[in-house]
Symmetry: C2
Subunit: 473 residues, 2 copies
Amino acid sequence: MIGHDPLTTYKAAVIGAGAGGLTVAIGLSTFGHDVVLIEGDKVGGDCTNVGCIPSKALLHAAGVGMDDPFAWVQAKRDGLAAHEDFEMETDDHIHLVRGWARLTKSENDAHTVCVSGPDGDVEVHAENVIVSTGSKPIEISIEGLGTERLLTNEDIFELKTIPDTVVLVGGGVISLEMATAFLDLGSEVHIVERTERLIGTEDPLVSATIEAALRSRGAHMHTSASIKRFDDLQQTAHLTNGDTIVGVDKVLIGIGRRPNLAGLGLEDAGVKFADTGIIADDWGRTSVEGVYAVGDATGNTATTHGANAVARRTIRAIALPIPKFGKPRALPNAVYCRPQIASVGLTVSELNAIPGTGRIRLVKHLSEIDRGLTDDIEYGFVAVDAERFTGKVLRAVIVAPDAAEMIGMFTIMIDNGIGLRKLFGTVHPYPAYSQAIGFITDDFASATFRKLPREWWAMMRGRIAKHRRRSTS
Amino acid sequence: MIGHDPLTTYKAAVIGAGAGGLTVAIGLSTFGHDVVLIEGDKVGGDCTNVGCIPSKALLHAAGVGMDDPFAWVQAKRDGLAAHEDFEMETDDHIHLVRGWARLTKSENDAHTVCVSGPDGDVEVHAENVIVSTGSKPIEISIEGLGTERLLTNEDIFELKTIPDTVVLVGGGVISLEMATAFLDLGSEVHIVERTERLIGTEDPLVSATIEAALRSRGAHMHTSASIKRFDDLQQTAHLTNGDTIVGVDKVLIGIGRRPNLAGLGLEDAGVKFADTGIIADDWGRTSVEGVYAVGDATGNTATTHGANAVARRTIRAIALPIPKFGKPRALPNAVYCRPQIASVGLTVSELNAIPGTGRIRLVKHLSEIDRGLTDDIEYGFVAVDAERFTGKVLRAVIVAPDAAEMIGMFTIMIDNGIGLRKLFGTVHPYPAYSQAIGFITDDFASATFRKLPREWWAMMRGRIAKHRRRSTS
């Protein structure tokens, strides 16, 4: 419903109606609790309005060759946003207050949130506060580049026409997905990345594969480079490595995100935070009792499903008076470029911190399996880093047409302690891409089965070295 | 290598170099055993030459709009066949003998196989015999229909031109995949199915969904019908339900398959068989010690991965002198039409034999999830039948663009005893189609969590009823 009672102390005040905030609000409502949901911008947050939803809609529209792809994107986005808005306005337990929130010092087990909005200033009282204010794109200024050419994820989906030449600054998720879409739309696509490879959070084989795939479709890569200066009259970008890009229509900046913490009053409320976001544990708990933070505002996750996963634990923490047991589930990542990228398990740097003696890496390229042959797949693979002997999956990464759907097999394995040894013999349908996983388990078995004592010793050495490293660091 | 020594008793004689036979031959060779591989037709069998490989290549070529799709199909098929042939001719432990085999009565723990081929008649002696002779399409004659219009999977991939109008007889896997391909190629497609629905081995929701999807793309359905008579001059098919199909260029028969057992000498050797195929257990063992049968020749499985799965157990039975423990793994099925169909677990009739009180069915349509919205998915769902209380997966079926890659999550769950309750909380990447599985586990939890004693009792009643039914049947 719209509006709240300033004299009531609600079960929770949720600040920000994006992926994380909506999950908490709806979850607590389902448990019968009354919640105030505070949003100064659009319900649905970045995911619905300027993130996952419009980007996936654009990838679809561009992939199937729609005549007016941006009209499709805007229709889908606005339809979902209107639906989510309506749901919040009509939920009996959710009290929607439009405005910008500021935390104050808590008193008597209750928190007061001040909201400034179109209807003036109001106060919200609640037993718990959830900060789910999200993030916004990091902006940079490029000499000579006017705002009419400059885009971020917040305005790219408002385009009316397809740019002839688009420059994507940054080699992360946004650039990979938008490169895929704009190549389909017929644009000339340039990616400018400061470091030496795209998608630096993944392992180098992912970068090399996706760079080759994009290049084969006509994309231009400018790595170890940034835009030094832009000549607006000539529509030319001059890069630090000497490259020039001519005829530039639009420049999309996708170099990272910064949590939305300004004006929230975190210091007054005593909530600890860093540059990366609010300090919160895997239940969303912050340094202040009863104040939680989920999603991009924390810097712990940067995905909708990551925000949802923590938000579900926050709901449990608030609504269920039971001990907080249970480790968080594995959090997969997916990039919906073509081919898709998906990974789960340790991060690459966490993996590299584990001594190499105790682990084994197995890679199967899709070009080596039968479906790769029939479907002409040049770029793609499944790679698994596993503990020796047990085959416990430390990290899995997939580059494949359907990687986002395949990664769930590894997510389930990690969550349930199923290693490659247990997976040996599992039957995958022929000739699915998933057969690559069957080959990997076979390779693991033939690499480790015949000399089990040696494998056991290798695993133990790895564990001991890991323990020593931890003890001394 | 080519040829064998008629005086040597080999570890095994493998009859038929298709999916199952090649797996056994290569597997035993890897263990260092000498094997005679007998093949009268092409190495690679149906899968490589007239089945999975050319059909997937055609689906790909048609889907991406290649100019000469059949040239692609033939090139891919011939390339793989030549590769497999070369591998068999050059493997040090595999002795390739070209010809048609006949079993004889076994004597002194060794078996004698007589082979008639291009080089005359020879004898092969082996400790073990593996019958992997595959199957062939069931043929029917239609009044008035000449052989120049009649196709099966054995000649359809030899087409040079795209037929304007094609009639697919039978509503099974072959017809669904070929309907998808020929619709992409621009043909007018008719499916004639004797029963009231397509893909009758799956549950009715699958049939309804795939029929609607094909119809939306222009396919014509003629269910509860068969071709009564064909008028070749008018190119018109007259159906038993009164429908007529005019301008017919080709008629593809895909109504089922029959095991290749003729001339094998099974009676002489004492190997028991039925109309559906050789009687064999899940290790491939037949009624005669040392004689095994795998793949389509048994009627136990009709897929390449099914033949492989049994063949791997046959290798273990022959090569490893350890007790035969371990249940067979779950066998998924996949149909590569668009959307794809994939299922795993009990068959529909096995499921229906379980009393309804103890189980629960959960369905999530892709149109209800966010990716369904952005990607305009009208036809598709994930459906799970699970045991109440535990959430043990009895059967899962998926109709989705990537169903063949998604089904592995359920295969792993079934193999490892992970039910929906354990899956609760598993994180799927947003906005992948796999999120439907997350909704299903949530729905299972909310349907069963609040009244656990009642759920436990429902499960027990189901188990008791199942036990009673078994005891009295």
